[in-house]
Every structure is written in C-alpha cells, then in structure tokens.
Amino acid sequence: MLTHLPILQVIVPLMAAPLCLFLTRSRLVWLFALIVSGVAFLISSLLLQQVMDSGTIIYMLGGWDAPWGIEYRIDYLNALLLLIISAISTIVLIAAHTSIQQEIPEDRHTLFYILYLLSLAGMLGIVATADAFNVFVFLEISSLSAYALIALGKDRRALWAAYQYLIMGTIGATFILIGIGLMYQMTGTLNMYDLSQRLPEVDNSRTVFVAFAFFIVGVCLKLALFPLHLWLPNAYAYAPSIVTAFFAATATKVAVYLLIRFTFSIFGLSFSFTALPLQMLFVVLGLLGIFVASFAAIYQANVKHLFAYSSIAQIGYMIVGFSVSSVTGLTATLLHLFNHALMKSALFLALAAVVYRIGSAQLSQFHGLGRQMPYTMAAIVIGGLSLIGVPLTVGFVSKWYLVLATLENGWWPVTVLILLGSLLAIVYVWRIVEVAYFKAPLAGSESIKEAPMSFLIPIWTLVIANIYFGIDTRLSIQVAQAAAHSLFGVTP
C-alpha cells in the first residue's frame, strides 16, 4: 500500500464524495467526511516522511510511463502543500457540523460535504500531479466546487460573489489552458519534467513567451494578485463561514504553488526572469497589494471583509519573496505559505464561532466580546499578533526570512516597505481588539456565551500550532529550505 500513497492521497477524498450520497443522516456524513479528511492528512504526513527519507517519489498512473501516461511526482514542495491542505481541511471540518447548522439549510448539508470533499480532492490533485493538462482538470474540479460552496452562503450577495468568482476564475482557467496549449504546440509534450527538458531548445521563440505570459496571468487571477484580486473580498465575506476558513488557508496557496512550480521547474529560472521583467513586476505588484489591501482592511465595517483584504496583503508578501528569486526568498515565500495557512484558518474559524453566537460579523456588534467570549477573542488576538509578525508567533518567522532575503539582495527600500506594511497590520488588528475589549457590551447581548467546544478545539489547535511553530521552527524551515534548494537545483 505504501507505494500507492501518492494516488491514494487524491482518490480517497475523490471517491468518498459520491459515497456521501448513500448516507442519510447529516451527522453521519459529517463524521464520514471528517474521517476521510483525517486519512488524507495521515497519507500526506507519510508522504512527507518518504520524501525526506528517499527523495522525490514518482508514480505512473495506469502503468504507462510518462509522457505517454500521466505521472505523479512528489517532492519537498508538493509534500509540504499536501500536508498543509489536508491538515487545515481536517481541523476545519471538526467545527463544520455545528457551524453549518446556522448558515446552511438542513436539506443542503449532505451536498455541502460532497462539495467540500470534491474541493479538497481537487486541490490535492493539482498539487500532486506532474502533468500540465491534469493540473487544468483538477483546477476545474476544485474551482467548480468552490463556486457552489460559496453560493451556499445565506446573504444573497453570496450568489453574486460566486458568479463573479465563476466568471473571473473561468477566464483565468482558460488563460492557463491557452498557455498549456501553446507550450504543447512548441514541444509536443504535457509532462512537467519533459517540458523542462524541451522548453530550453525553443525558449527564444515568441510562442513560448506568449505561453508563459498567458499562464502567469491566469495563475495570478487565481492567486488574487493585485490588481486581479477583485473577486476575493466578497467571495470570502459572503460564503458560509466554515467555507471561508477552509479556502482562505488553501485555495490561493495552491495558485502560488502553481506559480512556483511552473516558473522554477518547468520554464526554468533563467528564462522566467529574463523573458518578462518578472522580478520588477512582481515586486511592484506585491508591494501594491500589501499597501492597497492593508489600507482597505483598516476601513472595513465587516470583520470578514477585513480579514479578506488582509489575506490579499499576505499574498503580496509571498509574491515579494518570490520575486527576490534567491533560496532565502523562496524559503520565505514557502514559510509564509505555511504560516499564513495556520494564521488565517485560525482567524476565520474564530470568526465562524462569533458568527455562530451573535449571527453577524459586523465590527459594530463586537462590543465587549472580549469578556463574553474570552477564548475566541484571545484566539483572534493571537492570530492578529501573528499577522503583524510579533516574535514567538509563526508570522514573525516568515517576516524575518522575508526581510533577510530582501536585505541579502540589497533591496533596502523594499525591506522598509515590508516593515511599514506590518505597521498597517497593527492598525487593523487594533481596531478589533479595541472594540472587543475596551467597549462596553451592547444592550441585549448579555446572553452571549462562549463558543461550543466543537469550535474551540480546532481554533485552539491552530493557535497553539501558530505559537509552537513560531518557537520550534526546525521542521518548517527544514522543509521549506529543502524545497527551495531543490527548486533552484533543477533549473537548466
């Protein structure tokens, strides 16, 4: 069985999804989904262990060797992502049953879990595969289920947000398809490793340049890089809270993975950064993303919107790390990928708990919550500190590496701007803290109790992970560095 782990990682949730239709009670479906997600997490940890012991794992589907068949390749980079996605999925699912009681009608619960598992399987499939077209197919699986999940939100604006996401997401996916088609046309193959061998022969052709451009734009749409981020705030704000907790930590990370994979492993470092002025472009767009989004976050009335804009800012940080294109820079990006997943899922889960209790995420309703829901608000505070980058939290570790990377490159102005961005984060986190702890509770809100255990357990698991990985950084740094080194080593 151990040799088949790569494929089991994807087909366990993939086949579990239709099986849900045969279970009747929604509680049973929830337990089933939870177990499946847990199994996926177990598999991803085993895979990471295998990669650390014996290097890249190659798995041929259907027994046909690549490039005639499709293959899976698991190396440090995807093993890390598989771990993040499956871990967050499982932890978030713990609270799902309680959360959706309030937000989704009873007769849609089974469908919710089916779509959730499909989304999970889709994301795992994108990350594990080494075939460019397979990426497109699984991208669509995860995107379609995402559109439907977001549309399950109570507010009618969820429908509009889902529609806008559908249009922008499909344009992005079609651009990616065009890019893949052009790459195929010039090389005759779809396998990632094969492409990396064959592209250098043709890489001064205009077609490959255009292929690259279309692919990058398509991926940036999915990543929500400024200015292609317009779909994200509404999608995150109006989706059911548990859906946001899951997607905020995973969906954009997968797009970042695709960016890294295609630039480093397929097109190659030298081509990618010389063909387009990618370094300059990404630094500028990343920084713009950080500042525009952070400023927007400060003025939001709805806390979900606030954190959504914060996510766009964090993606900006990841892109800046990427643009440095050094081992340290890439390590910083990967670390931030890991850390942001932990931070944002904790924050959005805590928000889900608040919404469960008070029915709204408007900041004006948060008065005095610090006293009425102490554990939940404490979690938000710690998550907020992590966003700012306070030492002892994971946020600090990734900011540290980012600053290191920009300094190594001699980019003083960028370092200063990164630190300024953290100051902005202080402002918007403080807004929440101020209202929750320093304002008197609203009239008629005495009956608000702390969140139930089904929320507190996953929230605090994530918060403790936030602090643990902020102090004991060995595992996360080791994996991120190993991934960065191997990516740099593969370039022709």
Partner: protein
C-alpha cells in the same frame, strides 16, 4: 471559418437573448463541422451533442426564468476593448513563431503522438486511437473529467433543487391530463422515436472502440431521450419514471464504478488504473477496463445531464406555482 466569425460578431450586437442563444447553438454546430474537417470526429460528435445540444437547451430553460432581452449598456466599453485588443495582439504576436498549420514535422506530431499511433494496437488493442488514449493512456484525466461533471451536477442540485409537496403533484397531474389533447401528434411521434434514440445511445456507448463514440456522447444522447420525454409528457410524469434520489445515486455509481476499476488494479498490486491487472492477458484486460470505465462515464453523464435539466425545469415549475398562488 468566416461563418464562425460572422456568427460571433452577430452575438455581440444582438439584444434579444433568445436569438443570441440560437446563434450560439449555430456557433457550436459550425465548430463541430470544422472539427470534422480537421479529422477530429470524436470531438465533433461531442461538441455537436454537448456544445450545440445540451448547452443551448440549458440556456433556453434559463432564460424562461431570467428574461428574454438584454438592457442596452449605458457607457462605452472602452476599457474592455483595450483589454481585448492587447490580449489579441499578444496572441497574434505569439503565433508568428508557431509551426505552420498542418505540417507533419511539427513538434506536436513528433514526440508523444507516434507511439499512440504506432503502438496502441499492440498495447491496447482498440482501433479508435482517441479512445485508447482517453480511456487507457490518460485514463486518469478522464476520471477527473467524470468528477467534474459530477461536481457540476452536485453544484446545480445545491443551487436549484426544490422540495416538492404532494398537493402540488396532484395539481400538476390534473393540468397535464387536460393538456393531453393538445400535443397529441408530438407525443405519439416521440413515443415511437424514444426507443430508437435509446438504442442509438447504447450503440454509441459500446461501439466507441471502433468508431467515434464512447461514454460521453452516449451519456448525452441517452439523457436527451429522457429530456425529450420529460418535455412532452410533463415533469411529474417523467419524475415518476425517473426518481430523484435514484438518479442521484446513479450519478454516484458511475464515478464509483470508474474509481473501482482503478482500485481493483491497486488491490492486484499494480498502479491505479493499470488495466493489465484485470486479466491474465494484458490486452484483454485493456478491453475490459475500457469497457467498464466507459460504462461508468456513460452512467454519470446521463444521470448528471438529467439532474441538471430536471432541476432547472423544476425550479421553473416552482416559480410558476408560486406566481399562481399569489394573486
């Protein structure tokens, strides 16, 4: 090709959505004929049934609920034109270095394709090379595709399904009976045609190895027969023939059938979807594997197309009932 451009531009200009949808159906049909000219027969078949058939149908049902005309836009779409011009020029720039259309020495034909063309008969044993690539060499992609269809079905269910009350059903029944006289000719002709359509669907399903066809096209045709029945005899009658939860499980069974073939390979020690694990003779294993997965595809595609149509139509019925009940 020029026709295609003309149709596309006409769609841009027209405001009547019904006409727009008809034009998009024509666009699909023209594309299908283009595909035939390009030797892509399987693709043409699929595009004609899916792109021109189902797609047009769904859009028509949608506009019965959303309205037939488009409001004229109030501002000049300059930004959109600019974006489109930039994107288009970039693409044309990219074509300048492309290998010329149709040449046998183009890189696409040199590397991966020759093995498919030359060796697939020995390795897989099926004359239709597209089927052998789709169902064997790249079977995992096809699995992903089946899951995409399943996901769309589940998504539409999540968005549009309506809980139906017994008293509504009785009311609709009485309306139907009174309508019996009106569409008599259509109904009789349909009753004669439907068995042939179903038979044709089965033919396409099983003959996909030897000619154009296979699970997708067969599934769509089968679903078309059911939808035809539903359109002429009324949703409630159709629902009695095809039960809601039965069809959902049917969709699930298709995906699970496909996956199980892969799992059996795993249990026999080979990689996922390696058909040589299914039988002593590898080529026989290939035939068996392809047969089973195409069946799985056919099941899910039929079921999901029916689910999507029934839910759209059901939503419409629900809206009509609500309008009737409110004065």
């Amino acid at each position: 090709m020029a026709f295609l451009v003309a149709v596309a531009i006409a769609i841009v200009r027209m405001k009547d959505l019904f006409a727009v949808i008809m034009l998009s159906g024509i666009y699909g049909l023209l594309s299908a004929s283009f595909f035939v000219a390009m030797d892509a027969v399987d693709v043409a078949f699929t595009e004609a049934s899916v792109g021109a058939g189902i797609s047009t149908l769904l859009m028509l049902v949608a506009i019965t609920m959303t309205g037939r005309t488009e409001n004229p836009s109030r501002h000049k779409p300059l930004l959109a034109l600019a974006v489109v011009t930039v994107t288009g020029s970039l693409l044309i720039y990219g074509t300048l270095d492309m290998p010329y259309f149709g040449l046998a020495q183009d890189p696409v034909h040199l590397h991966v394709a020759p093995r498919y063309i030359n060796d697939s008969m020995q390795e897989v044993g099926v004359p239709n090379i597209v089927t052998s690539v789709l169902a064997s060499y790249r079977a995992f992609d096809t699995f992903g595709e089946v899951v995409v269809i399943f996901t769309a079905g589940m998504g539409v269910l999540a968005l549009l399904s309506v809980v139906r009350h017994p008293k509504d059903i009785a009311e609709i029944d009485s309306i139907n009976k009174s309508m019996h006289e009106e569409h008599l000719i259509l109904r009789i002709v349909a009753k004669m045609l439907i068995p042939f359509i179903l038979l044709f669907a089965l033919y396409v399903q099983f003959h996909g190895d030897y000619g154009p066809g296979g699970g997708f096209q067969a599934g769509v045709i089968f679903a078309a027969a059911i939808i035809l029945y539903a359109m002429l005899f009324g949703m409630s009658t159709a629902r009695r023939v095809i039960n809601q939860s039965f069809i959902q499980m049917f969709a699930a069974i298709g995906v699970l059938l496909y996956g199980s073939v892969g799992v059996i390979s795993l249990l026999n020690g080979k990689n996922f979807l390696d058909y040589s694990a299914l039988s002593v003779d590898p080529v026989a294993g290939q035939h068996l594997g392809i047969l089973l997965i195409e069946l799985g595809v056919g099941f899910t595609v039929t079921a999901v197309m029916v689910i999507i149509f029934f839910n759209f139509a059901g939503r419409r019925k629900d809206q009509q009932n609500k309008e009737k009940n409110e004065p």
